[in-house]
Symmetry: C2
Subunit: 331 residues, 2 copies
């Protein structure tokens, strides 16, 4: 078994974000669930886009954002996700490679267009997401290259992948390869509605295969269907080795067996757009983990990366995170 | 002759901007002319994009930005420009219509893709632009609907259109229609290199057909090939009825016959990206002009709109300019 050459590989839905500012009535008038990630079909995608104000296009996708964050921190990172060979697919591919992410998943040459996520940001900086999965639906086990997957210390996957059966199979194949190579497997629960859709499967997966779990407070409570946060953390500790649970302005809790490490949130001058906060927390944590840093520092790197991304529009870092981490004496 | 129903119609190259932050050496190492708009072919477009860091896509195009600014101020505005029926063409079309711009130019169904402008923003907030004209090359006289053009009080055109002979013909056709309908014709010189390419033609055009000219200091000096700004303004006054000359942080000068009105620049907290400053100045000025406001107020509206756009990334307003103008007691 050769030693890993990449720090992290992330797998997820390859999506271009279409971001716009809207007011609260826009959400209610157009039946858009606030704060959630809702899957939509092509007809609804056309409808929502037709209603939306002028927008900005930025490459996104939860695990894609995490990969970009790890690269920005100076990590060696790869990505697996499916675009089509269209203009938005080119945009997504460019943005991954330009930041140094190894991204070689073959784009689909027919079928649905590259995925878009219509992200509506309200004045309170909350984001409401409507995702047309498009070409992401084509991701399958054929896209999982065993040599590539085995080359990373940590494999990181989105819970969102569970929305497509073929992507779920790809997810399981990758997890198996990573385990067999002696590497770590991590998962983000992605969204409390996503947890609701696949609760039993997620629980089984966490107990058996997941070394590091990422969740926010809502997702964790949804997973165990309980309101008691501390009790949920205790249950989680009995089910997986290591977990990082984010709690917005309350920071995060790292659950490591019986140990509970509290990490404060980083101060943010102006909260602009919460899109990507969880993705960047995972980026900071995983980068630190892959470098063998202590868990508190991993959590601080996560908080720092999350704070950077919520201070501007869009879900990927606008400044080099490595320099930022250095200025905070974190690396 | 029916009375105009639109305030302004703008005609220009319909372009999606691809914006990224770069450092100074990036420009020199890749032979990119700082501060200029350089036309590039498809091969160079691929090369530059391949070299660029992760980017953001935002609808742009000089006259398109001006139309968006006028709409944001509450003006009734139309736009003529050519995209292809591809994803970036959809993005451009959506962003125009979503802000209320009447945009009905038929997209081309074959030939080159929708135009892209690679905009590289250096730490000093200067932008260096490389434009692949793509589908813009297909704009011709057939795209000029006489009834539509005649419906606007003011016609506004980019000097950039002169880079394509068929677009130039379309430009002349539109100017003639507007004149015959008793409306005003305005022009922006666009870029000092553009002036250099078409100096004699621009001079002829200004003397004969242009009622309102927009230029910056460099463009004006290039037009008359003289360094004396005041002397250039005097010459300009002898050649066209009304002109607004922008001078970056020194504000603008409105040249109205023998009258010279100085308008101060608006204060900007943080200069982020100068892309679109001239376009938004024209938007503010033309909106005020179309509402019959005095020239100083027109200039102030221009300064205000320019200040908004240079305080953030991207060439179109991020906030409603009508509210902003009201808060400054300008409308």
């Amino acid at each position: 078994m050769s030693s890993p050459t990449l720090d992290v590989i992330t797998i997820g839905n390859a999506i271009v974000d279409v971001l716009a500012h809207v007011d609260e009535p826009f959400l209610t008038e157009n039946a858009i669930e606030k704060g959630a990630m809702t899957l939509i079909d092509e007809a609804r995608a056309k409808e929502i886009y037709g209603l939306m104000p002028p927008a900005v296009e930025i490459s996104g996708g939860s695990a894609g954002n995490t990969a970009a964050g790890i690269a920005s921190l100076g990590g060696e990172v790869g990505y697996v996700g499916k675009v089509r060979d269209d203009q938005l697919g080119e945009v997504f591919t460019h943005d991954m490679r330009a930041i140094g992410v190894a991204f070689e998943t073959a784009p689909s040459e027919s079928g649905p267009a590259t995925a878009r996520c219509f992200i509506l940001v309200t004045p309170d900086a909350q984001r409401s997401m409507n995702t047309y999965l498009g070409a992401c639906q084509e991701l399958d086990t054929g896209d999982i290259d065993p040599g590539f997957i085995a080359s990373a210390k940590v494999l990181y996957m989105e819970g969102y992948l569970y929305d497509r059966p073929t992507a779920k199979e790809a997810f399981h194949k990758a997890a198996k390869i990573s385990k067999e190579a002696g590497n770590k497997v991590s998962l983000t629960l992605s969204d409390s509605f996503c947890v609701d859709r696949y609760r039993d499967e997620f629980l089984g997966l966490i107990k058996q295969h997941i070394d590091i779990l990422f969740a926010n407070e809502d997702e964790l409570k949804s997973l165990y269907e309980m309101d008691d946060f501390n009790a949920a953390c205790d249950l989680l500790a009995s089910h997986c080795d290591l977990a990082a649970v984010t709690r917005s302005e309350k920071g995060s809790i790292i659950v490591n067996g019986s140990e509970r490490l509290e990490v404060a949130a980083f101060p943010v001058d102006k909260l602009v757009d919460t899109t990507g906060a969880g993705d960047q927390y995972a980026a900071g944590f995983l980068y630190g983990y892959s470098q063998g840093l202590d868990f508190t520092t991993c959590g601080k790197l996560g908080s720092m990366a999350a704070a950077e991304v919520i201070s501007h529009f869009g879900a990927r870092p606008e400044v080099g995170l490595a320099d930022l981490a250095e200025s905070h004496n974190l690396i």
